[in-house]
Structure formats: structure tokens, C-alpha cells
């Protein structure tokens, strides 16, 4: 789960990582009181997860309260990568002379977390050194390793001191809060050499959330995604019109590819999970039934531990509950003949192979 910038910065504060003074607002009317705390000039930033926030006009530097109010209402009405910001961060504008990049991320091949630091841009940079990567032991980032990175990217004095402290604190945050990624970009260098985190990107390990119940209140945005998560389905909303449902993440992923190759556009990815019972199949179909963008439903099942007869019975029940989108199903594997018999007197269209079902669902437009 990815945190919004201000949520990440709250964690930064808690771990002693310096961030500018800021206030979160949800209404332009809150701009005045926020500015009293933050001061002018200030930066107003849309709190969205989508990339390209700056390019979309979601960040503005303001020099007066009137300008701040105006920009706040403008940004609250933006759509940034399909997201409408519901919160804004009003932050003290920083004057700085250089910028760095610092992140701690999972290196899947090394099977360890790594610290990545780059010194780039800024007017004070004597030599532009490339990206420095430092593997982090499972027990934590040793001070000496952080010092070595600081030297390798050419930091000294106050900047080096700050960098070492921030790197060690950021790693402690990532380790204790069980993040997949903790990134500061940019990490500003001010004229006195001190460092300040101007942005945050923090991604939590979803699988570790059971150990961090405090994050549960931050959970999904999308009501259907939330419902799917509670039911234990992997569900991702996509921008097309064909709902794709199957058993097994890889199988559903490959079905999306087949649909796209045939010229269709998937409306969602829904993985029923292994060993699905009839009730799960029903819950999944009732969910995609309510997905407004789904004009047709494609079901791709390779039965094994998941019994094809359970799938067919579930499908039949939901189809018989009342009008719904046309369903195209490929059901293959053990007991498939019985499964097909169960569905014979329903409007579900049956196919023997995935490519056949895909061709039919795509060309039905």
C-alpha cells in the first residue's frame, strides 16, 4: 500500500527526518489558518498517488493568502491521472541550493534492501557522481555504511552529518514499519549545508499489515477494491469494458493479454484464488456484476484443486438471480463435462479453450 505524501512525512517526522512545516487541508477555507502556521511563501500540493502531479498542475507556489485560496480551489478540482485530490498539503516553501535523491528499496535479485543515493542538480554540486547503491544487512544500516555512501557521493561537513543521520533514520523507519520502499526525492541541500526532505514516497508491505494495525484506517480508496480485499480476492480495476475473472493470478494475467491481443479492453482483473468454493465464485461474480464499466464478463477456469463443478454451480446461481451482463466462460479441467451440463440451460456461453472464449467476448461488441 502506497502512502500519500503527507502520510509519509508524518512517519518521517516521527523518525526525526527533517521536513518543512506543513498543514493538511480539505477545503479552500482552511487555507488561511494553515498559512498562519506555515507562513509565506508556501507550496500547495495535491495529495494523490498518481505520478506526473507537477505536470498536471497539482503543485503551486503561492505568495499571498488570496493566491493560496485560489490555487487551493483550483487544485481540488483537478483530475490527476484519474484521481481527484481530496486533500492538499500546504507547506512552507524552502529555499535550497542543491537536490539529492535518497531511497531504500527492495533489490529482488540480491534479496536484500539497498540504499540508493544520487547527487544531482543543484548549483553547489562540485562533481556529479552517479548513483551509489549500498546493500543493507537484515539487522539494519550500520552508521559506517551510511558514512561511506555520503563520502562516495561527495558530501562533507554538515551535509554529510545530516545525510548519515537521515539515511540511518530512514532505514529504521523502513525496517520497523515494514515498508517495501522509502524514498526522499528531492532531499534538499540548504545554504547552511543542512538537508530537508521535500517529498516522500512510502510503500508499505501489504503482507505485513497484520503487524501494523495502525495503518488499517488508511486502507483502500476504491469501494469495490475494498470489498474484494475483504473477500480475499485479488481485484484490480482497469479501464476497459470486459471483466476478466479466473482462478490463479498468472492465468488471469495471461487472459488479460489474450483479450488485449484480440483487440479488447479488460475492465478488471479478478483472481478467485486457489481451491475456490462455490460461495467464493458467487461473491466474485456478484462483485463484477456491480462494476459499472463491465459490459461483458469473461470467466477463465482451469480446474484442478478448484472444482469446475463448484465454479459452474456458483455461476449458475448468480446468473439465475436476475439480469446481468452476458457471461462467456471457458471451463476446463477435471469434471468439466459435468460442469458444462450444469450450465447447459443458462445463458452462459461456453467454450473449450481460452482463445475461443476470448475471441467470442471481444467480437461481441
Amino acid at each position: 500500500m502506497r502512502l500519500l505524501e503527507y502520510q509519509g512525512k508524518e512517519l518521517f517526522r516521527k523518525y526525526g527526518i527533517p521536513v518543512p512545516n506543513s498543514q493538511v487541508i480539505r477545503d479552500p477555507a482552511e487555507t488561511g489558518p494553515a498559512l498562519k502556521i506555515v507562513g509565506l511563501p508556501a507550496v500547495i500540493k495535491a495529495q494523490v498517488l498518481a505520478g506526473g502531479r507537477g505536470k498536471a498542475g497539482g503543485v503551486a507556489v503561492v505568495n499571498s493568502e488570496e493566491e493560496a485560496m485560489r490555487e487551493a480551489s483550483r487544485i481540488l478540482n483537478l483530475r490527476i491521472g484519474g484521481e481527484r485530490p481530496s486533500e492538499l498539503l500546504v507547506e512552507q516553501a524552502s529555499t535550497h541550493s542543491g537536490e539529492m535523491y535518497l531511497s531504500i528499496t527492495l533489490d529482488r535479485s540480491r534479496r536484500s534492501f539497498v540504499l540508493i543515493a544520487t547527487r544531482s542538480g543543484g548549483i553547489e554540486v562540485e562533481s556529479t557522481t552517479g548513483q551509489t547503491v549500498e546493500p543493507i544487512p537484515i539487522t539494519g544500516l550500520p552508521q559506517a555504511a551510511a558514512e561511506s555512501v555520503a563520502s562516495r557521493i561527495g558530501l562533507s561537513g554538515k551535509s554529510k552529518e545530516d545525510f548519515v543521520r537521515i539515511a540511518v533514520d530512514l532505514e529504521r523507519l523502513l525496517r520497523e514499519q515494514e515498508c517495501e520502499l522509502a524514498e526522499i526525492n528531492p532531499l534538499a541541500i540548504r545554504s547552511d549545508g543542512s538537508l530537508l526532505a521535500l517529498d516522500s514516497k512510502v510503500i508499505l508491505d501489504d503482507n505485513a499489515l497484520f503487524r501494523h494495525p495502525e495503518f488499517s484506517q488508511l486502507l483502500p480508496e476504491d469501494p469495490l477494491e475494498g470489498e474484494a480485499a475483504r473477500e480475499g480476492f485479488a481485484f484490480v480495476r482497469l479501464d476497459g469494458n470486459i471483466a476478466v475473472v479466473g482462478n490463479g493470478a498468472g492465468l488471469v494475467l495471461s487472459t488479460l493479454d489474450l483479450v488485449a491481443d484480440a483487440g479488447g479492453r479488460p475492465a478488471c482483473f479478478l483472481d478467485l484464488g486457489g481451491g475456490s468454493q462455490q460461495s467464493r465464485v458467487e461473491a466474485a461474480l456478484r462483485l463484477v456484476k456491480r462494476l459499472p464499466s463491465a459490459e461483458r464478463i469473461l470467466v477463465n477456469i482451469f480446474g484442478g484443486i478448484t472444482r469446475t463443478t463448484d465454479v459452474a454451480a456458483g455461476l449458475k446461481n448468480v446468473v439465475n438471480e436476475g439480469p446481468m451482463q452476458p457471461v462467456y466462460a471457458r471451463i476446463s479441467g477435471a469434471e468439466e463435462e459435468e460442469a458444462k451440463k450444469l450450465l447447459a440451460d443458462t445463458p452462459v456461453k461456453l467454450y473449450s479453450t481460452a482463445p475461443e472464449a476470448v475471441k467470442a467476448v471481444v467480437s461481441a461488441a
Partner: protein, 290 residues
């Protein structure tokens, strides 16, 4: 790395759970020697006639097992894998899904220190049809004895592709799920290293998906080490959006890192034959192996 021989005893951790009990039955039906189960506090019970102990060390002592398959839920996974490793088990098949990354990293460090092979987590397991060894949850009828090594990041795709290979006359010497998480106990390259000189393997099928760079690294390995056997690959997720986790924890594209295009072009540059759909795999295999 070791895999069990025919009739070699294995242990099931989490045997009294619904899932553990069901698959114990299916593994026994296949002909696998499930010799003991472990569930803390359930000493003296039996599941499908298999005795249950409350410690792995006790089960190892009683059966001489070198291998254990783990079904316990994610919050109890790390203590279970640690217990298996410290009890002297040499192969762990970790079926458990949703294991936190930090627990997986600790698991890798501990397994490496003790010379233990971990398959998974989040894997359907491993099946060796010729030995009637099934340490996993895969549907047995899809798999036949033969000389293809099948390694997959996805469970159902492994079943589907195995089924198509089997129906086309290409059985498997081994079929193994490497796991759907960002961290795998054993990597694709390590499995390739293990089969590269085995004469019961004529060709390898690698089923991958978006996320990470294990396919790219495998491609370099194939080129750099002059891997001698034909390799066939499929990569799921060409149509997947960026920054969205597609079911598996490991199936996510960040920026241009982890895209299907990158994996496919790396494979092609290494001389790997890439299928565009799962159904194309047997066709490609037939063209090469006849």
C-alpha cells in the same frame, strides 16, 4: 539442492489445518510418502493415518525425513520455517502465501547459513511424476513423467501448461513453482544450475510474469554460461498496467522495471523461444524436440 527420491519420507507442517489435511490426502493418493505431520499442541493426533507431532525435530527423529512442506498461515510462517531449518530439514516447500518481505529475507539468510533449499513461499510446490513425489497442491492429472523441466512463477499457469505439454506427449521430469512473491527462497537461476547437467532433462520451460528482473537475469545466465538445453518461455502480463499489483505480490511494474517487453526481448536475445500464449508452448517444444 535435493528433491525427495521415490518413497522418501516427508513431513507436513500445519497438517491439521483444513488445507494441510486436504493436501496430505491428495499427496498420499499420488503415492508420496507423507510420514509425519507437525502442529504445535496436536501431538498424538493422526490425519489420514499420518501421525502428528508437536515439533519438527521430533518428526525428523521419528521418520528420518529430510524434506518438509509448510501450510501454516503467514503470521506463523517464519517460526515454522525456522523450526524446520534448525531441526535439520534440507528441503522446505513453502506453500504459505502473503508472507511479509522481512520474514522472507530472514528466511533466505537462515536457509543459506544452513545450506537449506527453500522452494517458495507462495508456491504450488514441486512434483516429480516419475518418482510419484508430489510436495504441493497441484492437480496431479495434469502432470506426466517425461523429460521437460517446468519452472513457473504462477501456479495455475504451471498446471495449464503442464496439462498441454502432457496431452501433447511431453511429460515432465520435474515441475516446480518458484513462488509468486518478490523474494524467492531459490531463484530461477539456481534451478537452472541444478538441472543443467541432468540427463533426465531434455529441455526447460520457464513460465514468468511481470515484476522484478529474474527473467532478464536468467537470460544473461543462459548466454554467459552457454546453457546447453533448449529453453522455452512464456511471460504473462503484456497488457498489465504499471504500479498495480496483479494478484501476486511480485507481479508489479515500477516505471520501466519489470515489464513483459523487457523480459521477452532479453529472452529472445539469449536464444530462448518465447511463446505469446500458454497454448503456444507445446507447439514450440514440438518444433524443436520433434
Amino acid at each position: 539442492m535435493i528433491l525427495p527420491e521415490q518413497d522418501e519420507p516427508i513431513i507436513v507442517q500445519g497438517i491439521t489445518g483444513k488445507y494441510g489435511a486436504l493436501h496430505t490426502k491428495l499427496m498420499l493418493q499420488y503415492g508420496t510418502n507423507v510420514a509425519a505431520g507437525v502442529t504445535p499442541g496436536k501431538l498424538g493426533e493422526t490425519v489420514e493415518g499420518v501421525p502428528v507431532y508437536d515439533k519438527v525435530s521430533r518428526a525428523v527423529e521419528k521418520t528420518g525425513a529430510r524434506s518438509s512442506i509448510i501450510f501454516v498461515p503467514a503470521p506463523y510462517f517464519y517460526p515454522a520455517v525456522e523450526e524446520a531449518i534448525l531441526a535439520g530439514v534440507k528441503l522446505v516447500v513453502a506453500i504459505t502465501e502473503h508472507v511479509p518481505i522481512r520474514d522472507e529475507l530472514k528466511m533466505v539468510a537462515l536457509a543459506n547459513a544452513h545450506g537449506v533449499t527453500v522452494v517458495g513461499p507462495n508456491t504450488p510446490g514441486v512434483i516429480i511424476p516419475a518418482r510419484r513425489v508430489k510436495m504441493g497442491i497441484m492437480p496431479a492429472p495434469s502432470f506426466r513423467p517425461g523429460k521437460i523441466a517446468l519452472f513457473s512463477r504462477s501456479g495455475t499457469l504451471m498446471y495449464e501448461i503442464a496439462n498441454q505439454l502432457s496431452t501433447n506427449g511431453f511429460g515432465q521430469s520435474v515441475a516446480l513453482g518458484i513462488g509468486g512473491d518478490p523474494i524467492n527462497g531459490t531463484t530461477m537461476i539456481e534451478y537452472f544450475d541444478w538441472i543443467r547437467t541432468r540427463d533426465d532433462v531434455d529441455a526447460v520451460v520457464a513460465v514468468g510474469e511481470i515484476g522484478g528482473d529474474s527473467e532478464e537475469r536468467l537470460a544473461s545466465y543462459i548466454t554467459d554460461t552457454k546453457f546447453g538445453k533448449p529453453v522455452f518461455a512464456y511471460v504473462a502480463g503484456r497488457a498489465a498496467p504499471k504500479e498495480k499489483r496483479m494478484g501476486h505480490a511480485g507481479a508489479i511494474i515500477y516505471g520501466n522495471y519489470g515489464t513483459a517487453e523487457s523480459k521477452i526481448s532479453a529472452y529472445r536475445a539469449a536464444g530462448v523461444q518465447v511463446a505469446m500464449t500458454p497454448t503456444e508452448i507445446p507447439t514450440l517444444v514440438r518444433k524443436t524436440l520433434g
